[in-house]
Chain length 692, copies 2
Amino acid sequence: MNTPSADAPRSRKKKLLTPDPVAPIPSNPLSAVDGQVRVVIENVSPEINGGRFPIKAVPGDVIAVEADIFLDGQDLVAARLLYRHIDDETWSETAMAQLNNDRWGAAFIVDRQGRYAYTLEAWVDYPASWQHEVYVKVADGQRITSELLAGAQFVESMLKRAGGKVAKKNPDVVAISRMATLFRTGATAADRYDEAVSLAESDQFTFYATRYPDRRHSTRYNHELLIEVDRPRAGFSSWYCLFPRSAAPEPEAGGLPAHGTFRDVEALLPRISGMGFDVLCMSPIHPIGTAHRKGKNNSETCLPGEPGTPYSIGSADGGHDTIHPELGTIEDFKHLIAIAANYGMEVALDLAIQCSPDHPWVKEHPEWFKKRPDGTIQYIENPPEKHLDIYPIDFEADEWQNLWNELKRVLLVWAAWGVRIVRVDTAHAKPFGFWEWIITEVKRDYPDMLFLAEAFTKPKVMQQLAKRGFTQSFTYFVWRNSKADLQHYVTELTQTDMRYYFRPNFWPATHDINPYSLQSGHEPQFMIRYFLAATLSSNYGIYGPSFELMDHTPCPDKEEFLNAEKYEIRYWDWRKTNKLTYLISLVNRIRKENAALQTTNNLTFCQVSDDAIMAYLKVSDTNKLLVVVNTDAYQRRAGMVQVPIWQLGIDPSQPYTMHDLLTEAYYTWQGEQNYIELDPYVLQLHLLRIEV
Amino acid sequence: MNTPSADAPRSRKKKLLTPDPVAPIPSNPLSAVDGQVRVVIENVSPEINGGRFPIKAVPGDVIAVEADIFLDGQDLVAARLLYRHIDDETWSETAMAQLNNDRWGAAFIVDRQGRYAYTLEAWVDYPASWQHEVYVKVADGQRITSELLAGAQFVESMLKRAGGKVAKKNPDVVAISRMATLFRTGATAADRYDEAVSLAESDQFTFYATRYPDRRHSTRYNHELLIEVDRPRAGFSSWYCLFPRSAAPEPEAGGLPAHGTFRDVEALLPRISGMGFDVLCMSPIHPIGTAHRKGKNNSETCLPGEPGTPYSIGSADGGHDTIHPELGTIEDFKHLIAIAANYGMEVALDLAIQCSPDHPWVKEHPEWFKKRPDGTIQYIENPPEKHLDIYPIDFEADEWQNLWNELKRVLLVWAAWGVRIVRVDTAHAKPFGFWEWIITEVKRDYPDMLFLAEAFTKPKVMQQLAKRGFTQSFTYFVWRNSKADLQHYVTELTQTDMRYYFRPNFWPATHDINPYSLQSGHEPQFMIRYFLAATLSSNYGIYGPSFELMDHTPCPDKEEFLNAEKYEIRYWDWRKTNKLTYLISLVNRIRKENAALQTTNNLTFCQVSDDAIMAYLKVSDTNKLLVVVNTDAYQRRAGMVQVPIWQLGIDPSQPYTMHDLLTEAYYTWQGEQNYIELDPYVLQLHLLRIEV
């Protein structure tokens, strides 16, 4: 709802996107209304900000739409849900049904990528009202000759809409003509009366009345609502994040880590794809500035040979559209993308819109950077913190238009390299209008492009980024640990309007966040946090080697990593495996094999008597899972879980089988209440497939 | 949201009232956005159907507005609530404050009748962001010379907006110029540094920054929302409903009731106004048809001399714009209005848009009536019921425009007689668009006109009538009897969005509805139902003599009255009084003396340990009441009531006085929990004024 001040001249231009203000008092009203339109359509769901923003879907999704639809008096209503792919000229229609008390619903499937629109239309259903009247009067023993003549009039108007008598070959026309004749004769000829009455009450009449309705005075809902249908990976993805410079297979002689390359990353693909990940997300791969370069652990003094942070982007070698020489060439990067594809993986890049003092833009476009009164450029400050090695871009510069176009060019360069997924760093620090514009622009040329918003900030800001077009979003999951907190938060994500536009992506940790919950390094805790992320959300990711190997040493009293990869090259032992890596590989395989884990909003929490054991159903058409987690990483917990068997269609008198996909154990359960016991020192997780 | 079908040509005309559909993919986007606008305003409350309908108020009401207001990054926001009476050229403004988590609020008072508009504007508050930065850096011990220069730049831009150096006489300009000078010198001259820093941190800086903000890139909310401010009686009224033909003081010789006249009604004014009512509502006063005239108790055969029903409107004597001769003349009616005014009462008429077969319109405008195929006019049917004495108007007639204009003419005739309140009979049986149009039209000429919607139908239909402009609405109160049902329903009316547009008018019974709860004729039950209506809702009414005298004999198995006044003249003993009439007079007086009873949404239910005793707070600025009702008309009930003393600012350690306005008893209470005991055979009601 972001519109310029009314007094600004450019507000005109915005008109297209914003509704006109309601006229204070309608002028010339009789000509402004259609007195014969009686049906009201309102309170449509889903509808985000009055239709200002699209909802999100992937091909195959069922879009269920509801609305309040009603009119004055006793007449009955007919309603249709209209929908079309933006590329289609004409609307498809499906009949809506009344759910209860003037609430109507219908659904359709979006089967193609791109944008869909949907809206509603409703009208007074006179034939249905008439048929109802016939039922009542006949039941009351009244003779309905006059009503039969009225019926004939309805049928004759259907006949016109069916093409009229001329369209003799049309079987509908033949059938409808017969009905008309019978109604008229039945009204006069006593011997045909009963036959005419039963026709009036017949499904045949209903059928043709529904097929050829009179829509002259129908109500059309006054918004066309939008759906953004992205490719399947938007809804189901497993991310693995690493710093390519830390990808070297061996430490250098002398123990100093070697600088990894794209080739080194390629060598890791068997391991990473073998664990079942499909998105390889890399920290920025561009030249790193030298001015005010930071040392280890964010030190303001940088020792010779220290690599600086890849988030201080740009040097004499170039900026966001070039590659850090020590990682390799553009050809090497394209090669990595190609090899990754062979392993069924995509490479995602990290868009950090900020510059080192050495970035070419600083010279070429000084107008994009805020100056301090002393003429120096304003570096990033979060007082008392200073980041002299990073210049923020000034999005409010009067030259914002060439800035936006340049950033679009950068993304098109990446796309030309073959990149189709972008992680956006601190998305909440750039204007919403910019994101809405650039995401729309880039997707026009590259519809496959997906954007993940890295934003850990206030709820409404994170929601707004999703509304403006981000495909997926980081969440508060990293800080939701107790059963109560998790259930509350996941309910908000999957049961409120957020479900329609905000696609969560769950991460137990990131290279910026070393959460207190994991600083113990306690393996069962890592397993719990991983398992929750991978089963609560169909999109999730891990901060790769660090998480796998349970790196956890914090900077004192901070949720940050000591010796963070941001500021130095780390050596990881890529050969190492552990119980956690085994679990990751197993769960990723199970996610691929079980449709119920490939979407997020199909989740229902179950009652459990223990306050640390969490249980949730994940249900798809073909696949029913019950996930059970003991969120207490230190103690065995036991309790009764309540399975909503009525909802699952399970006979309370019959046993059913719970097949644990983690252990291949088979349990025989019966009825609602069943016993659960989970020990973090054995296995604190169940992933049960319900096999009735 | 009632718009014509898109394919209908007239849909064009409707554009003005409906938002444009969202452009599927914005074309030429860079010119369509203002890249420098960063603040978002959304989720505004109150806002009905995206601003399609106004909210309701009376002069003096405080309109509290809330919205989500936020932007990217760390900068602070300034927001204003803009409002104006439609007759005013310019907006008034009030600063909004952050309530929590990006939710902002402000309020203003509507002091004049008519329409108000309100909207919001917000912008980045750079001076405030800068001042916050100064606080932090100074606290961190940093030297802020460069920041002082930035401060000077802010102040110099304020100076321009304040009128610039030319406006020397303006004290603000003088003060702001001083600040600019001090910031600049403080940045250079060490001896002025401290002084400049404390100015940077001062309220003086904040004050001028707030008074002269930079709004160039502000966000203006994209709706102007409307408030319909009616005269005070719209919010506070006590209705007394009668059939004027039953107003005769004495039965005729032979015991047959005499036909009452307007003069007879005048004679009743001392009694009715003496009981404290301010609206006298009369059944239709127009000529009654003779064709198919109904007899007593809705009989299809009418005996000679039977008067028929006043809802079968129209005869050779005229229609809706004429008066039934036996009641008197137009002059008599005007005289009644004048005398009523002397008693502080208004006369409301009953608009029943239906005709007897003898109504002049039937001949003059046959096009307004549905024909049956046999050519006869379609009378009202609710199968198996038939009402051959009533022709409904066909609002879908192709000639709907001259029909609407004629109905408007009727209301303007009534207005010319002096009528300013209209009860609309079965409002739900006529199109919503018609009501929106005619109410707007009539109020343009007669802004004092009030409309009460008589509609007992589905919730969404009743809500829509209120949205379309009805001043007050009948409710389900007549069927809400248990404590649980009453609390649930009143909470919906006063806590959901209904509070903004739906003004309830509570009736214990009507001339159409003789509720099961009153068919016992049990006096304590009548008292309970009356008292609930008069204290739960600031607008209420009684079906006068019948209710006063506790008439209750039903038609067998129906919630209808035997010998209903609709079908015959009743004689009432207007001299009679009873415990109920005493209570009515007392409560109406108390309502006039206690502001807390003159508005409806100021209600809070209190916990009571007994499941039949209901307690609710009614609080205004000057007046605090606790209403307590034993809803069990047959048994003494007792329990503890929880008084939210913290909300009332009552010291838990001190006693406070409860003054019962019904009995003049004084109770001394202390703390939250206090004992209540109510006996229906003594008095089952408390109306306690809290006197601390």
